[in-house]
């Protein structure tokens, strides 16, 4: 089974700091990691290939420093990694991003049987790219999958969606996005990270390699625009009180009474 995994290099969000004057994210000194759910997808791909044969190709669209993420993918066991990078790709919304990724996937030989992505990223969190790649490739999709079983010519997967536990049979080729809880029988141990930094070829594809025009990608190929970025308006800050627990509890009870959640204490208690 030939599997493609799409990964994104993201800032390690808990360590993000804001330049509040310039209204932008301070990227210097911020750790970059593979989006956690994309790691889950990659490990699943490796486990599936381990059982069925075939190879894992990892793609990422991003600036040149996304190479680090791809080196980590190689270290974990990917057979081939491709960085889709070009100044023209910058500023892309999910429509343009999915177009670049889908174009790259359709240029792969052999064609993949399965495309895996993380369900969403920690930075933009839309969860759109997977379904939009599936739509462009005309692949069936299932999102938020937590179990994958291989059958001949099909996959049986499970997802939890709006309170329902669904079991679905999907014919391949297909695209799945994976959730945190994904388990695939069989587990590949982490590769040797140091080794990945010395060998491993990273293929780079740009606009021309993909045969795309500048209007189809990046900011120009996007349908949405960010008009404004701003800090959420601060909520009014109230009183801050210190003291022993008894005093603090009295304040809580007073507010429960004010809000009508507790009836005000009277003689009967």
């Amino acid at each position: 089974m030939n599997i493609v995994v799409c990964i994104k290099q993201v800032p390690d969000v808990p360590t993000i700091r804001m330049d509040r004057e310039r209204m932008s994210v301070i990227r210097e000194g911020v750790e970059s990691i593979i989006n956690p759910l994309d790691c889950v997808a990659l490990e699943a791909a490796l486990a599936l290939c381990n059982r069925s044969g075939g190879g894992v190709t990892v793609l990422s669209m991003g600036p040149p420093q996304s190479e680090e993420a791809l080196r980590e993918a190689l270290a974990r066991g990917a057979d081939k990694v491709i960085l889709l990078t070009d100044p023209a790709f910058a500023g892309a919304d999910t429509l343009a991003t999915s177009h670049v990724l889908a174009t790259a996937i359709s240029k792969l030989d052999p064609r993949p049987d399965l495309v895996l992505c993380g369900k969403q990223t920690v930075d933009s969190d839309t969860g759109h790219v997977g379904p939009q790649i599936a739509e462009e490739l005309d692949f069936p999709q299932v999102c938020g999958v937590h179990e994958i079983h291989l059958e001949t010519d099909a996959l049986v997967v499970k997802q939890v969606s709006d309170g329902l536990l669904n079991t679905l049979r999907v014919s391949t080729p297909a695209l799945l996005t994976v959730s945190q809880e994904l388990s695939v029988p069989g587990h590949i141990p982490l590769g040797d990270l140091e080794r990945a930094f010395s060998d491993g070829i990273i293929i780079r594809w740009g606009l021309e390699d993909l045969g795309l025009h500048a209007e189809e990608v990046g900011l120009r190929g996007s349908a949405t625009r960010v008009w404004r970025l701003y800090n959420p308006p601060p909520r009014r800050m109230g009183e801050v009180i210190s003291g022993p627990p008894q005093k603090l509890v009295e304040h809580i009870i007073a507010m429960l009474e004010t809000k009508g959640i507790l009836d005000a204490e009277d003689a009967e208690g």
Binding site: L95, L229, I253, I261
Partner: protein, 333 residues
């Protein structure tokens, strides 16, 4: 206001499963009516399913001007490709300027595929929708960079302008039995896609968590210290007829199931009173509780960011305070 004459109307996807718990379509109808007034147009709810009569009537009762219904047994279970194909056909004929859906799991899986098919813009999980007075564009506000900032997004040149909206952000209008609306039955062929087949579907087990409707919410974060200490919130919730929420760190620590997650990737709540204990106040969390009428925060760190959004800040050991509160309330109730 400059306007695109070709596209008119506000459409809302009628996600009718779990109707009485899942109120997001009703919330969007209410917001849709506000937007429609500014654009001098109407709100249409698109309802695809099986045995939908009851829901068509409910949508009209809650404010929809029009309900567009495709009712057929093959639509009984939600199916991404079948729904995408069908709705794309409806959109090609009717051409609304705006199409919104609740950010339910289905909405978040279906809307991006549909937006791609139409080659239009889609924003995810919005916390605000407004019409820009000058351009007439739908301004869609979503959290960005993990919730630290808010981004205003527009789709200037593509139609319809699509967005999914976080449940609990808007308020529904009350049910009106006297309401009258129009109902449209498109004559459309339903093409099913056999590449995905639903083998089995069952309700998830577990105690039903209903945070969105609770008037009192108690939230615990990592600062509570342990799973046993987190349990105190449940005891308090039982006494106060409230519900328990959790921050992501508490869930990752295994103290709570993830259906209780509050925040950017979880639920938004608007209770009368919210008590947040052992939470530092990361924006990814607080975006989910901003709507509470009153917030009490308990944290041992007097500089914790949570105090900036609390009406009452209590500096102390969260567990000690909650345990004492529980004791006092038990005596009293």
């Amino acid at each position: 206001m400059q306007r695109d004459r070709d596209h008119k109307g506000i459409w809302i996807f009628g996600d009718y499963r779990n109707y009485f718990q899942n109120r997001v379509t009703l919330q969007l109808i209410a917001k849709g009516k506000d937007l429609a007034q500014k654009l001098e147009t109407e709100v249409t709810v698109v309802l695809l399913g099986d045995q939908t009569h009851q829901y068509a009537m409910e949508y009209v009762a809650h404010g929809a001007d029009v309900v567009m219904v495709v009712d057929h047994p093959t639509l009984k279970d939600y199916h991404i490709e079948t729904y995408t194909r069908l709705v794309a056909k409806l959109l090609a004929s009717w051409r609304p300027e705006i199409f919104i859906a609740g950010a339910t799991a289905f909405g978040r899986e279906f809307f991006p595929r549909l937006a791609k098919r139409l080659r239009t813009g889609l924003s995810a999980d919005c916390v605000s929708l407004e019409i820009d007075a000058e351009s007439g564009l739908l301004v869609q506000t979503t959290p960005a960079f993990g919730g630290d900032l808010l981004a205003e997004i527009v789709t200037p040149d593509h139609r319809p302008q699509m967005a999914t909206v976080h449940p609990g952000v808007f308020d529904e209008r009350p049910h009106k039995s006297s309401a009258l609306g129009r109902i449209i039955y498109p004559e459309v062929e339903i093409e099913t896609d056999q590449r995905v087949q639903l083998v089995r579907s069952r309700r998830e087990q577990g105690r039903k968590v209903n945070l969105e409707d609770a008037s009192t919410v108690l939230v615990g974060g990592r600062g509570l210290g342990s799973k046993e200490r987190f349990q105190v919130l449940f005891d308090l919730a039982d006494l106060l007829n409230g519900e328990v929420g959790a921050t992501r760190p508490a869930i990752l620590a295994g103290w709570s199931e993830d259906t209780r997650l509050l925040g950017q990737t979880g639920k938004s709540v608007k209770p009368k009173l919210l008590i947040t204990a052992g939470t530092s106040g990361a924006l990814q969390y607080t975006t989910g509780i901003q709507g509470a009428e009153a917030i009490i925060a308990i944290n041992r760190d007097p500089h914790a960011p949570i105090f900036r959004i609390a009406d009452l800040g209590l500096v102390g050991d969260a567990h000690a305070v909650l345990a004492l509160l529980l004791e006092k309330l038990r005596k009293r109730l």
